[in-house]
Symmetry: C2
Subunit: 175 residues, 2 copies
DNA sequence: CACGGTAGGTTCGGTCACTGAACCAAGAAG
DNA sequence: CTTCTTGGTTCAGTGACCGAACCTACCGTG
């Protein structure tokens, strides 16, 4: 959103959160990071975001402490972006937004989320409807819903078709 | 964000939610509406938003079913914007974002939220830490926090300094 | 060593949304 | 008849976003 000037005058935690994650694409980048996407190229093909914007968002999120840039191989040097604890704390907000988005008319649910240790579906804010408490991200299982394209073009979407845990790194198998 | 083209290709409830509430200012308008702000002029002075943008957002939110335009006096004809049930369902998402925003370093908490019938503070997603369940918006009491300017310029901010329930209409007493 | 491929960017011109200020209109108040 | 209030619309300027092209290491192959 390029907020700075205006939102800064808002005396509100919501406005300050939006200063960090309120710009276009930013929350979708965080969503993908929580789904296990880590590499520049994977974000790129999965989101369909302009390269310059992606670079700016990754840098801003890293500066905000939501992502962490980490060298995963030396030769050739390659970095990946991993969500930090601070980034994981955005899960309830993303989950609530997603739950709200499901209520938009004329659409089928895209993904289902389950507490893997007890099998119950998640509530609107990521709590377990079975055992009641907030579910650690590692115990959240993501399953494809009926609204999802069964044969997507990009390899990241294909990898995300499998039932999988949150945060589990996406591996894009070569075509 | 003016999403349309790009986000439409995203197969994700979060992306679809952001199509509706992801543009600049939109979530802050909804926040104000949940706080009890209803009139064009009150949104204007409280948010410091350009008039054209406010008009566009109010119209878009009304079209999306988040707000409802309602005639509150006939002569002269005056309308107010009231949150619908669909709009109230955004509260968990806003609450989660606000809770996350409180964790941004270098800031004091702006507002506190309490379950008025039992006095316990609200958790990160609007649940009651005392009695456990999700709290109906009418039972949420909002109190000023230490980070809040004790003598703000605009009448809406002054009205929101008082402890008050969510959704309770803001009355801007004449100066 | 030339050549092509991959990962991760930067640069650049065009477009579109946001911004602030000015203007407009219907009624009420004086 | 003039001014004030409420709720807007119009308009020029600016800045963010867009897609495409280009750049830089490095690797693998012949």
């Amino acid at each position: 959103m390029a907020l700075g000037k205006d939102y800064a005058t808002q005396e509100c935690s919501i406005a300050r959160a939006l200063e960090v994650v309120g710009e276009r694409w930013t929350l979708l980048v965080v969503r993908d990071a929580l789904y296990g996407v880590r590499r520049y190229n994977d974000f790129l093909v999965h989101l369909g975001i302009p390269r310059a914007v992606l670079a700016a968002r990754l840098q801003a999120l890293t500066a905000a402490g939501v992502l962490e840039k980490r060298r995963y191989q030396e030769s050739p040097p390659r970095d990946e972006y991993v969500v930090t604890e601070r980034g994981r704390e955005l899960w309830p907000a993303l989950r609530a937004l997603g739950a709200w988005g499901r209520g938009i008319p004329g659409t089928a649910p895209m993904r289902e989320f389950r507490h893997v240790t007890c099998g119950s579906p998640l509530g609107v804010v990521g709590e377990c409807t079975g055992c009641g408490g907030l579910v650690p991200l590692e115990e959240v299982e993501m399953l494809p819903g009926e609204g999802l394209d069964p044969d997507p073009a990009d390899p990241v979407s294909r990898a995300l078709l499998e039932p999988r845990r949150l945060l589990q790194p996406v591996v894009t198998e070569p075509v």
